[in-house]
């Protein structure tokens, strides 16, 4: 028995630490491409700094554009981490363990990129320090800044805490040829972790506290992001449901992002033994729950305004349902609600590709949804004049592309610095799941882990069915 767990933990280490040890040319090329896109985005930002916001497509009527759309989108997917690693931890959902690290990474990276967007959007980015010196709490923007910085701090701590044992492991596994700096950094970050029972106890307590703390912060973040809009007297924004609407939307796109990232990393870094079909399927069900909630809120939002049809709401609904923004709106409905729902409900075909398609559609559609939240409300005329128009300029598209490239780039770099799955937590799970992992039995009989998983699932189903008959 001991020998088997030993070999399982060795394999875990090998798989989890492999990406850190080896770097292929494909990876280098990929990073180069990302850097090129990021560079072009930087060039666009320099253009904007030189000429001002006149280089964007925004003008006096449509005063906010893609930057705010990206802001809401990135802050939205940052809810991935909170959901999986905090909510699932608090509710003790056992299957979450291999996913938590990636989810928390999404959170940290997405907040960092998202928080840059409003600063890029400022007419005077050189005066951003005024917010610290002259900030006043009556303004929804200040609520945003407070809760987003709290969220970033909290998420960094929450990412770091479960990392400590893994960093200690990396410190201990460093080869002789490792550079002094690398050794020093790992030693410093491992904060003297020796895996004593007392250290373990304290760490688990700290993680528990952070898991509970981070949930209300995460909820507050997307609530106050929505308040930037709903504290105004604009049609579509002037809504009491916006807080929860944005929170659910954030969780929705957050789950979709985890599915995408998880499957990608599984493929690239060969994590099939740890991230199984079951994880993808369970997240798919969570995605469906969020989808239905979001659908409910969307219908409620448009039904309550559309029934009464105040003048400005009427203009807005015309813009959305049949007017200039109708293609975007219906793209959201079909690609974000209808198709993903069917992909999850109709269980035909392999799970993983099905969920990935659903998740990609959801993320695209949720970006579009943020677009139809921000732009059309600004196009509606508030005084007796014409509808506003908005066509994002090349500067905005480039900065948007740069933001996405930056998001992926930070991810690619992080994948080389920290293990993508929490080694010690997965090892703990495996020990708990005695006897020896089935995967090993499968290995011996020459089966791949998915196949073993599938076999187990079928067996369990058969048994349940048998019990039902009896």
């Amino acid at each position: 028995m001991r020998a088997r767990t030993e070999s399982a933990s060795q394999r875990l280490e090998r798989v989890a630490l492999n990406p850190l040890a080896r770097t292929g040319t494909g990876y280098r090329l990929f990073v180069l491409v990302l850097l090129a896109v990021l560079g072009w985005g930087a060039y666009a930002f320099v253009t904007q700094l030189r000429w001002g916001l006149v280089s964007t497509g925004m003008r006096d009527q449509v005063i906010w554009g893609l930057y705010l759309v990206n802001f809401v989108f990135f802050i939205g997917i940052s809810h991935a981490g909170t959901l999986v690693s905090a909510i699932l931890r608090v509710t003790q959902a056992g299957w979450r363990t291999p996913v938590t690290r990636m989810a928390e990474m999404i959170t940290v990276v997405a907040i960092s990129v998202g928080a840059l967007m409003p600063i890029i959007d400022l007419g005077r980015p050189d005066r951003v320090w005024h917010i610290v010196v002259f900030g006043r709490f009556q303004s929804p923007l200040l609520w945003d800044i407070l809760s987003i910085t709290s969220y970033l701090t909290g998420s960094l701590i929450y990412l770091y805490l479960p990392l400590i044992p893994d960093i200690a492991l990396m410190r201990d596994r460093l080869g002789r040829d490792a550079s002094v700096i690398k050794r020093r950094v790992y030693t410093l970050l491992a904060v003297g972790w020796r895996n004593t029972p007392e250290q373990r106890h304290r760490l688990e307590k700290a993680i528990g506290i952070m898991a509970v703390t981070i949930i209300p912060i995460a909820v507050s973040v997307h609530t106050v992001v929505s308040y930037v809009f709903s504290m105004t007297l604009r049609p579509g924004w002037d809504s009491t449901v916006f807080g929860i609407y944005f929170v659910i939307g954030a969780i929705f796109s957050g789950i979709a992002s985890i599915i995408i990232v998880m499957v990608l990393f599984r493929k690239i870094f060969h994590l099939e033994a740890y991230i199984t079909e079951r994880h993808v399927r369970n997240l798919g069900y969570l995605l469906l729950v969020a989808l239905l909630l979001y659908l409910y809120l969307t219908v409620g939002e448009y039904l309550t305004t559309g029934y009464k049809l105040q003048v400005e709401d009427k203009h807005l609904l015309e813009l959305l349902l049949t007017g200039a923004n109708a293609p975007w709106f219906w793209l959201f409905v079909i690609a974000g609600m209808v198709i993903p729902a069917f992909l999850v409900i109709v269980r035909r075909g392999p799970v993983i590709p099905r969920m990935v398609v659903a998740a990609v559609l959801v993320n695209v559609a949720m970006w579009v949804k943020r677009f139809v939240i921000v732009i059309p409300s600004l196009q509606v005329p508030l005084m007796p004049f014409d509808f506003g128009t908005y066509r994002p300029s090349w500067v905005e598209w480039s900065i948007t592309a740069g933001a996405f490239a930056g998001f992926i780039l930070i991810f690619a770099i992080l994948a080389k610095l920290i293990p993508l799955i929490s080694i010690w937590e997965v090892a703990e799970d495996e020990q708990r799941r005695e006897p020896a992992p089935l995967a090993e039995a499968g290995e011996r009989s020459g089966l791949r882990p998915e196949e073993v998983e599938a076999l187990v699932e079928t067996a369990l189903r058969e048994r349940r069915r048998g019990q039902g008959v009896r």
Binding site: T47, R50, V54, D60, V133, G135, Q138, M231
Partner: protein, 313 residues
Amino acid sequence: MRDRDGARRIGRREFIKWSLGAAGLAILSTPFLSLANRAKADASSPAASARQAAAKPARTIRDWTMVVDLKKCDGCVTIDSAPQCTQACINGHFVPKGQQWIQVYDVELPGGGKSFLPTPCYQCENAPCVNVCPVAATYHNEDGIVLIDHKRCIGCRMCMAACPYHRRFFNWGEPEVPPEAALVEYNPLYPVPAIRGTVIKCMFCAHLLRDGKLPYCVSGCPMKALYMGDLNEDIGTNGAEVVQLSRFLDENDAFRWKENLGTQPRVWYLPGHGQSFNRSADDPRKLQAPVWSWGGDGFDYQIDPLTWQKEPR
């Protein structure tokens, strides 16, 4: 805070202030608090002094109010020119091309005709724009006018999103102003020259009011349709006649734009369609565009990615 009729009232501003004060205190860590206090103590800035003034229960010295008599407003179509209020404002403030701080709109009448509606900034008492500004760059001065400190504005445009009247403008690029604008020393009362990346708007010509003069638009109106007055002293004038404001408003069925929003604008309208100058409601003549004598592109351009030059949108 009390209303003009003395009734106790809990406004949106109060509601926000109290609920946020409580939440803010809970969330904030001490370094942030000390920074906020430092900002408050900095009384040399106009916004801070305005904040102190607002905290005082005493009534303001002035209560500036504008009255627009729509019976006299013909949109300047009968004299075949651009609206002279807008034109006077542009000339007087070197308004950047593309902005009309006091803009005249067509309003469609039920029978197919139209009237004209000159719209300056309404200087709302419960101003949504002032509520949402994150850095107190826009604020009420002692006389109730909503000013902007362009040296403090960070250009987030939250105030523009909040303004339900679309009376705020943004200097998207380098504002196009005549060279003589550079001779003026900047002051929030007279924000000339305009500063790139900041929000700008009508400020009731606060610099002229302070000297006992009428705003550019009021003195520029050939029909004498615009009145400027002080509700504290209950007096107003269009430059030709003097009226008792409260009676003038009552007897002429004055109304305010979007009264139901509760913003309490300081601009009142007397209904009409220019009939005082024999303009009929179905007069087909259209509004003319004002002129910027110094020219420019009026932010109606974009930047080419390769040549880095202006190109039309």
